[in-house]
Symmetry: C2
Subunit: 351 residues, 2 copies
């Protein structure tokens, strides 16, 4: 599969970044970090960067909002950034989505590059030009499409990542296999997450995402298959984002969503029952997901109805026809979602 | 000159709008108005529109900010607008710029159309896809490029406009002639603003703007000629926006800016002195502009340095070579700006 032009898989991130910056003539440079990437990742690139401004924000989805954007815009304004400046996003999905949004709207758009530091961002969030922030509790509710100038993918950053974060990102690797590559799915089922050589996994996963996005950049059709697991996954994630405690990582919510939507795939699009069992068992083993309380199920279904991918109030979902083959725009109801979560709960109880 | 495809010059705005809405299958419709367009323009279109949500904001540049955007996003979220909704901007430049920005970023972009109700918006602001809001006192500091689906230009709206607003919009008509059409400039010099048939003027002015924007939509080069009068004009406008009293309309500030920049055109790009005198006298007669106090000149020059069109701290300006011929990327200094404002003041004193 093709590797996209604007993605550079790096052996030496510092050298590759230096080369890029030297070959462009930027007037100013900003590097956006959170407290984690400032501590663990920034030292790996700072030495070889020319003079730049470090912009620090707090980590976490709860800071991916318009107030943080205002802080970022204010900081680069005060440093007199003009249209020929460069904005570097050093972090995971939150940094990439929000930093890209800020750069794309500052003076109607300055160049930005992504240095994804999490597995999730490397195989998914940083690829495809979706930018945005959360609003009123809805994920990525305000945003736009715009491609970064370059994406530097460096697996060395993953060494600094907690195991739980790595496992969260692995959910998107699993998703890419489930929608497009059964052979690879059978391989990754055998992986031990403590001993993976990520350089064997990441380019393959990027290539799947890229080939889908290239054919449908603004999600008119095909790109919707990338939402497999996300209709219910997003609703679960949004719901727990607004609750005290119990925060779920994105990939953890998507793993639960993929169990639910695989069950819907049996009901609606002919996924064989044995594939469902295999997928469910694998995801349960890796993620050890938690029960969803009866009292929460209705709220989660209501959130799914408000999802931005819906069309005139009808919930449209990406569902599997086989392991490795996905279709989209499958109409489902609130009742379907409630039943799917019931199946999910049954699986956990019967574990 | 070519009339752009997505612009409809209307004789019957209500019928044309009805036809457009009927031939598209939008899930929901919002109409953005301020207190003026709600009173004077909305009644002209409301009868023939299907069910829709009216969103009211306060008029004026001082409300073109991120807080008003949040209010707008909140309102369409609460009405469960999905990606197949339509957003209608019924108003002048503020409504068009901000409403377009909100629509283009809501769920990563929904369709919007412009119904410009001021002369300024009809010949300039609604054409060309520049969207945005003010930030920290800088005009259009946050925004993006995106074309509306359609622009409905209806000169009937202008009957509801105060004379001062009409004269302000006329500054952009003058600018289009100065940068691209000497013959038309000689014609409009003879106009009596109380008796103009705008249907003879508006399509010509739109065609000039459109032909420039079509060749350079994201302002890499040629489009910069549309900034003639705006480097100093914007700085003057921004400066007085932050002062008590003394608010200038956009076109009034641009008229002052065109006097200053015509003087710079003599100094830098060979505009004949007699053309300068003719331009200055005409603009003074139409706009009767006010003196800029000595104490304010430095602040205005400083604002021009921060303008988003600048490149690495060098002020780049569009300047005239002849009446009807403009060039761009002419480097000027803070001293140039101060001298130009001095010339402008001398003209007013010697009036």
């Amino acid at each position: 599969m093709e590797t996209p032009e604007n993605i550079i898989v790096c052996e030496d991130i510092s050298a590759d970044l230096k080369l890029f910056v030297q070959s462009n003539n930027y007037s100013k440079i900003a590097v956006l970090v959170d407290e984690n990437t400032n501590q663990y990742c920034y030292p790996l690139i700072s030495k070889d960067l020319p003079e730049h401004h470090l912009i620090k924000i707090q980590s976490g989805e709860e800071h991916k909002n318009i107030e943080t954007c205002s802080d970022i815009w204010e900081e680069i304004t005060h440093h007199s950034f003009d249209r020929n400046a460069l904005f570097i996003n050093l972090g995971g999905g939150v940094i990439g989505d929000m930093g890209g949004f800020c750069a794309s709207t500052y003076k109607r758009g300055i160049d930005f590059i992504n240095l994804p530091t999490t597995l999730l961002a490397q195989v998914d969030a940083s690829i495809g030009g979706k930018l945005g922030i959360d609003f009123l509790g809805f994920k990525n509710h305000i945003g736009l499409f715009r491609q970064p100038e370059k994406i530097f993918v460096y697996s060395g950053f993953l060494k600094t990542l907690p195991q739980r974060e790595l496992r969260s990102g692995f959910a998107e690797v699993i998703k890419h296999c489930l929608i497009a590559d059964k052979v690879m799915f059978d391989e990754i089922k055998l992986l031990d997450l403590d001993k993976v050589n990520w350089d064997n996994i990441i380019p393959h996963s990027i290539a799947i995402k890229h080939s889908v996005v290239r054919d449908d950049p603004e999600e008119r059709g095909l790109r919707k298959i990338l939402n497999f697991g996300h209709t219910i996954g997003h609703a679960i994630e949004s719901y727990f984002l607004n609750q005290k405690g119990n925060k779920l990582l994105h990939g953890e919510a998507v793993a639960s969503g993929m169990i639910c939507e695989s069950w819907l795939s049996v009901k609606k699009t002919g996924l064989p029952e044995k594939d469902l069992n295999m997928i469910s068992n694998f995801l349960k083993r890796v993620y050890n997901p938690e029960l969803i309380q009866e009292a929460d199920i209705d709220s989660i279904a209501a959130l799914a109805v408000q999802d931005k991918k819906n069309d005139k109030g009808i919930i449209k979902c990406a569902l599997l026809q086989q392991t490795g083959l996905c279709t989209y725009d499958q109409a489902i109801t609130g009742d379907d979602i409630r039943e799917a979560i019931q199946y999910y709960n049954d699986q956990i109880i019967n574990n």
